[in-house]
Subunit: 443 residues, 2 copies
Amino acid sequence: MSASEAEARMESLSGEELADAWPFLDAAERVEGFRLLATDEAEDLFLGLEAREQATLLRALPRGERQLWVRQLAPDDAADVVQETEQEERSALLGLLDAEARREVTALLAYAEDAAGGLMSPRYARLRPEMRVDEAISYLRRQARTNLETIYYIYVLDGEQRLIGVISFRELFAALPEKTVREVMQTDVVTVPDDMDQEAVSEVFAEWDLMAVPVVDSEGRIKGIVTIDDIVDVVREEATEDIQKIGGTQALDAPYLEAGLVEMVRKRVFWLAVLFLGSLLTATVIGYYQEALANAVVLALFIPLIISSGGNSGSQATTLVIRAMAIGELRLRDWWRVLLKEVVSGLALGMILGGIGFVRVWLWPGAETPVAQAAGIALTVATSLVGIVLWGSLVGAMLPFLLSRLGFDPASASAPFVATIVDVTGLVIYFSVAAVLLRGGLI
Amino acid sequence: MSASEAEARMESLSGEELADAWPFLDAAERVEGFRLLATDEAEDLFLGLEAREQATLLRALPRGERQLWVRQLAPDDAADVVQETEQEERSALLGLLDAEARREVTALLAYAEDAAGGLMSPRYARLRPEMRVDEAISYLRRQARTNLETIYYIYVLDGEQRLIGVISFRELFAALPEKTVREVMQTDVVTVPDDMDQEAVSEVFAEWDLMAVPVVDSEGRIKGIVTIDDIVDVVREEATEDIQKIGGTQALDAPYLEAGLVEMVRKRVFWLAVLFLGSLLTATVIGYYQEALANAVVLALFIPLIISSGGNSGSQATTLVIRAMAIGELRLRDWWRVLLKEVVSGLALGMILGGIGFVRVWLWPGAETPVAQAAGIALTVATSLVGIVLWGSLVGAMLPFLLSRLGFDPASASAPFVATIVDVTGLVIYFSVAAVLLRGGLI
């Protein structure tokens, strides 16, 4: 669409409508719509965007406007935008900031994006311990005019920037004016090291019910704070990654609609090909029993039923265990509790499915099967189902522990991965049961 | 373990150690450990527990201590604990609260646990519009002594408790002391209705980057506020539910280790049985082609390979789409964009797997297959793979849209559900391709 068409279509949108439509607009429509907004609406929209989208939008704006908007960002958000920008454009973007912001952003860029240091803001509220409560409040009043990230907690620092205490705003507010900060502050402060992984930081928030946590370096000096609104994004992002892995894809770097086709295929083909190669073993297993199968083609009827029941129970067990590990409900050393639980559940589930399977096969054993053999086939299917559902549950539940023990992400024990393992071994169970139960009869 | 043994083991634990060990202790150990803590450590531990665990702990304490602890809870947390308590014990528990808290908690109990009203706290900071900024600050100072949930935002109410404005603490603090609240407040306030679903509330937070949002009734009167720390829990909880559904389980009500065996089997058997009944159709399909199969048993070799490739690609597509819908990246009307993307990705993925499959089958067609037929079988497998991987991707991607359109949760399009649908139709594709390509030859 041409710029003038886009303009005509965009002109009628309010900031809120544009924000709603945003993910579904192309680049030209976004820029047009954005530039047509009133300043305060544009500001709400811009600050609400993801860093990736802020970077794209900035790139499309004329230099003057770009400078205006990049200066609206808090240092931690500006650092995220720089990280989303091509390497060769970064220094030009940093050059648009004023000297202090540039220094802050450059310091933040030294941290990995998914570490505590990469999440933190350097603009926290701070006090000296010897201040009186009323002095502290009016001092904070002046600090609040500059751009503080939060004044929910105020940190008390000594002369070397070492963190010696914390006080919540509410406590400071409620304290007697003539006391000193040192008298009313709390000295047991929960902190996180600057290189802590963001998932671990989110667990610290959950454990201590915090609104913000100070980030300290190895000498106990405060470098910034991580606030709970950043943690919401972390929790969402980590869940998305886990879900994509559970589905058997490598985690995407961009939203579904924006991910390029090449990226989409590349992220999916790796596991699909690995699983396919694993699945080739099923042909080997069936090939091994080909003679038996030629004598009793009726056995082929129930192959998909048998293996998909194992895959389904394995998929249930693995997703339950992966999620429980991710939210800290299960630790590595609890594997045996899980094993016990899955033995019992797997047996119960297997017997229920086996019962249904027995009735179905006994009543309708397939057109070509002599009635005399129906009971034998039914028993083979039912017995195999008990074994395979149990086996699927155990593999699904134990694989995340094994992966985690070996240093891999337990979420890699995806539903398709478990299903493939269970397919191959499930066939061995099925044909072995058939060989025993139908000996001298059918095969 | 006896009480005295538990005591001996627990005595050495600090509050933090006990909190870490908590999920893995039995009821007796928890109570012993808790009662042995210093008061401030016990308080940190108690307030950090989930409502379910607080309820269990309270039940195990003597009446006097129970009253002490239940009165430590903010009204919204107390309401959660009451909701986790057996119906017949609820009024006794409410009776332990003081009159005002009892009134607040009872009002909160009227809301569904997963609605905005069920998440909110009635203890928000409020001001009248005609107050001066300096009056407002000292008024808030008195309010802060009582138990406010947050003073991040302060809400400005008229005489009828209708919300007319909001001001952040930072803004109030930075404002000139002699201005009135009305002059410095913002009047465009983002609110949520008290019956809004918690997932929708979490999207409002994400869209507007809020730290708290006021909950209003149908007449615009403020009933309470939802704070962002509650939203972290909502995001985590909803992701857990989605992951469990994607794995083919109904969402569990309790953590994995605490869920009873009966609940565990009940939540899993429903889908497992439904999928099993669906899978029975695979036997019907193969039964239909049984004669062809008897003539070319070699076709049976590749049944698991074919159907699991369809299942895997379907599982990838469905998890990508379900998650994108859950975090608002995809809307119902975007189905055709997804369809286009999946047609291209599905074809590309199918051709890659088909290529690998062709080489494998051509080189090792199975011991019993005449070499002359190997190319035909290989071509059948490869062509089927292209069709089935494409079909799996399309079913996996479109099913969440279909379910959502029909008013169901898109996350019900679990990986096993998609795999089962694709199994049945995949077999039809495989045997149809075989019938065409091998006509006059093998079958």
